[in-house]
Symmetry: C2
Subunit: 165 residues, 2 copies
């Protein structure tokens, strides 16, 4: 099962692709950067195109999208919502199953506590995926963390759903 | 000059198309409704498809998108950002010139004061566009108000830009 994890951002959107199975492996990770001098609609187009290209190339079975951390700055939250909107749209248009995880939920899944630091998350990603180094830049690591959370949570969520039937 | 005005919303997105000229006339107005029982990515797809259809049918020269009124409820603001994101994306992908107006700016353009009521805006829309009744539902009227604001502001904005060259 192939999972595309995404950490939305207007300037930098991080992503990670993992293959979940008996062992879970990292397939690819990176970032979609938009040009800071471009107007917002144009930057949204760059993000949408980047995500569509990833979906077309990897044909993921599921997408894991990090929820926006809100309440710090309302304007920033609003603009992040725009980026997240076009990412969810790209998933819906490709009929990919979409899962959303709050930042604390991702930290809890990867490190065991919702208040883990970025360094702790990166350390655990390296261990869990048997990598030489942590995925970088850090936005890419956040995308990988979202994908890995989905890989760990999905079998359980599906088992629970099955027992309820 | 044909202008497509949009008032973004996750449940109901209002729109209005006006033809600006010596006299400005209303071409069409209405709403894009999404199904409340559907997950957010699916609703975003419905909004994007609705806006793309409007652009394809009317081939507008410009789009006027109302800015989100934020700071009331951060969660609501964030979700509205998603809807606004896919609307701006649809405009960018069709290479339509996009103008954004804050709610107070629209009220000021239509009524003359940024603190006008919805009823006052609807009354003035009826007068300015020589309609029998106010456009309804009210979300459609908000889309028309955005388009009309653009029709009134754009010639001035362009004249100012021309003198600065």
């Amino acid at each position: 099962m192939l999972i595309l994890g995404i950490d939305p951002g207007t300037a930098v959107t991080g992503y990670g692709v993992v293959r979940a199975g008996v062992t879970t492996t990292l397939v690819e990770c990176g970032v979609i950067r938009t040009r800071p001098d471009r107007p917002l609609p144009e930057r949204l187009r760059e993000i949408a195109e980047g995500v569509r290209e990833l979906i077309a190339r990897h044909q993921p079975d599921a997408m894991a999208v990090e929820d926006v951390f809100y309440a710090r700055n309302v304007r920033t939250t609003l603009v992040l919502g725009h980026a997240r909107g076009v990412i969810l749209l790209a998933g819906a248009e490709a009929a990919v199953e979409i899962h959303e995880y709050a930042p604390a939920e991702i930290k809890k899944a990867i490190v065991g506590t919702g208040v883990a630091t970025k360094t702790q998350v990166q350390f655990m990603l390296t261990k869990l995926l048997r990598l030489k180094d942590a995925p970088h830049p850090s936005d890419a690591a956040d995308g990988v963390a979202a994908a890995l959370t989905c890989a760990m949570r999905l079998p359980l969520a599906r088992a629970v759903a099955a027992t309820r039937r």
